[in-house]
Symmetry: C2
Subunit: 392 residues, 2 copies
């Protein structure tokens, strides 16, 4: 019966060689077809001469692959689900899983307006206050699923709370140890945040602090910051956090010109550490990937140096954009405010979420901080996800 035959053939993955083997077209059941170039397929072969089976590292360089590479033959093995390929001119053969090809296809219509953030970013504003990702230290330590959920929260939202960390010095490093490694700097692997009489850094005085990202004068900037609270008997001193990605999103909606000014010009940041250190960087306040996705925010009035990299004819407008971005970051509509109790810790993605605090007086406010990096956190998410996923 004709219908039956068609229906059966629709369940097959089919391949067609196009443009004299310069690329192929692959059609999966119930999915749109997708094209792949010969050079891409050859570079991504799944054979053991192309990729080390153990480490999955690539064993060939592009130099080992003829520039004029074309697909000579292509067959789908329905049983194994492999695309079997032979290439001209060197008769190289390889096979690639067709599901892997679906997952790694690149022949997709470009969106009219590319997404402003990578896909797993969820922006937030003031009403996020009751929904901050949270876990207890003991739970995160003993239950991989709870740890995975907490780390994924940081990856999505750029902020999370931890409850009941040990009330002892350096416990912030124990939290870092749950997923990664401290970023050691001239401040050490961890640092005290207490009032000092003649502070080198304003963060240790009792003044309120406008929401900011830490250490914008460092390159590379620490990508995660943690603050653990060991004692908090002061009046005031509430913590403030704000999603810099949300502010960037609002700024772009309100004024593409302002957004463009802050992404297309580098600001200068500077820190003199009492003769012992002198750190400087030149980076845009809103950093985009070449594809136009926002990948980082730097904002810190205290360590902003004189902006000298911006042309005279642009400076007035730049300051207007800088002012508006600061207003958004300081607005009650975007900020979440909470007061840390002893044993509470918060962690932020320091390339995205700004933190600050209200002024305080009387009583002791004792916090300890540390920096760490996101690559280890994201690696931990992937490893835990795989370990905890049900076997197929």
């Amino acid at each position: 019966m004709k219908l039956g035959a068609d229906s059966r053939s629709d369940r097959q993955t089919r391949v067609e060689i196009l443009e004299q083997g310069r690329h192929i077209s692959l059609s999966w059941p119930d999915r749109p077809s997708s094209r792949f170039h010969a050079i891409w397929l050859r570079d991504n072969g799944h054979d053991s001469k192309t990729r080390d089976p153990g480490s999955w590292q690539k064993l060939v360089t592009l130099h080992d692959i003829p520039a004029q590479t074309r697909v000579e033959s292509a067959t789908v093995n329905e049983e194994s689900g492999q695309l079997e390929l032979t290439f001209y001119p060197d008769q190289w053969s390889t096979c690639i899983d067709t599901n892997w090809l679906w997952e790694h296809r690149y022949d997709v219509d470009e969106p009219k307006e590319p997404a402003l953030f990578r896909s797993n970013v969820a922006t937030w504003s003031a009403n996020f206050a009751g929904a901050l990702p949270s876990v207890s230290f003991a739970h995160a330590k003993s239950d991989p699923q709870a740890l995975l959920q907490w780390l994924s929260g940081i990856d999505h939202y750029g902020i999370a709370i931890m409850e009941d960390i040990p009330i002892r010095s350096e416990s912030v490093l124990e939290v870092v140890g749950l997923f990664g490694f401290p970023r050691q700097t001239n401040q050490g692997t961890w640092f005290e945040i207490k009032v000092e009489s003649n502070p080198i850094n304003l963060a240790t005085s009792a003044l309120g602090l406008q929401a900011h990202t830490d250490n914008p004068y460092r390159d590379p900037v620490p990508t995660l910051q943690l603050f653990g609270c060991l004692q908090n008997e002061a009046d005031g001193g509430e913590s403030i956090v704000v999603d810099g990605f949300k502010a960037a999103e609002v700024l772009r909606q309100e004024s593409p010109d302002y957004f463009h000014l802050l992404t297309n010009h580098s600001a200068q940041f500077d820190f003199h550490g009492g003769g012992q250190s002198h750190l400087r960087s030149s980076k845009p306040m809103i950093e985009c990937s070449p594809e136009g996705q926002v990948v980082g925010v730097r904002f810190n009035n205290r360590s902003s140096d004189a902006f000298t990299g911006i042309p005279f004819d642009t400076m007035q407008a730049y300051y207007e954009a800088y002012r508006r971005f600061g207003e958004l970051l300081s607005s009650e509509e975007l900020q979440v405010v909470f007061k840390l109790r002893p044993g509470q810790l918060f962690i932020t993605d320091n390339t995205r979420v700004l933190h600050g605090r209200k002024a305080f007086s009387g009583g002791t406010r004792w916090m300890q901080g540390a920096y760490a990096d996101k690559d280890a956190l994201r690696s931990k998410i992937k490893v835990l996800s795989r370990e905890l996923s049900p076997p197929e």
Copy 2:
């Protein structure tokens, strides 16, 4: 006498208020004049209410400064060299050193073609072999001037050699301690490079390795890498280094299109660490600042994942550009080759200079590596420069 009067007045710094106080023009003796905006001057005041005299951190936010700020009065105090300013509408007064203003002027003609690198970068090719910056460990440790010169060499060229490091485990960390801090990763604060029978990472096998930057799958990438040689009785195994900035420069000269392809599309890098880690990043092979300056190179065939972020219609050309960049990076004209002796170490700027090695066999080849970051190195250069400069 008229001539004398003119001559005297030319020796003075003069200020003029322009555009109803929106900006001023400052004329120094024997230098071109330069304009400064009211808002910029107000934001950069040198008074103790604007900047903390101890930490030099900024005490005001832009929100504290009226948006309609203009210069109401401006006078140069010839004795003190200060520009004395009063602002409308809040009668704020401040003063700023006129030499500081000269150093921080931004009213400059934009160059027709902006420099491809920051000003203190000097690119190099194969004939740099005999001129690599070098110092002995003992000299660097005991003589701040020698250490400063060595660190400045790394900053200029992205590579340096150190002689006579202690032949003992972890001595590479002693070298890091001369200027900064190790970047701890899942590989530890330092790591062994020895042949292993079933290596997770190809760098520990005896194969030759195409020149590459380390850990492109990390974000942030370690910005400095160090290799110390403790034993080298193998045949072959010469180290290869190549200036990625030089290759980027040549690529842009040869083919602006290829350069554009590698700067304007992100490549994907990936590393599976035997079930214990899974690191991924998406970054361009040649990374530029918003101003178009090359600020980083990532190149590593072994950890290149399938490129999926590049549109189908661009992929063929992208591979051509990738191939040509790889050819340049592998060319004898650009590469410097040397064989490390026990006690020798080399350090590279891992965002710029690629390293590789030739295959080796027989005998033991024992290296230890570590990662660190450039911000601390540049800070050390600034601190040493100030300490060693003759008092004024």
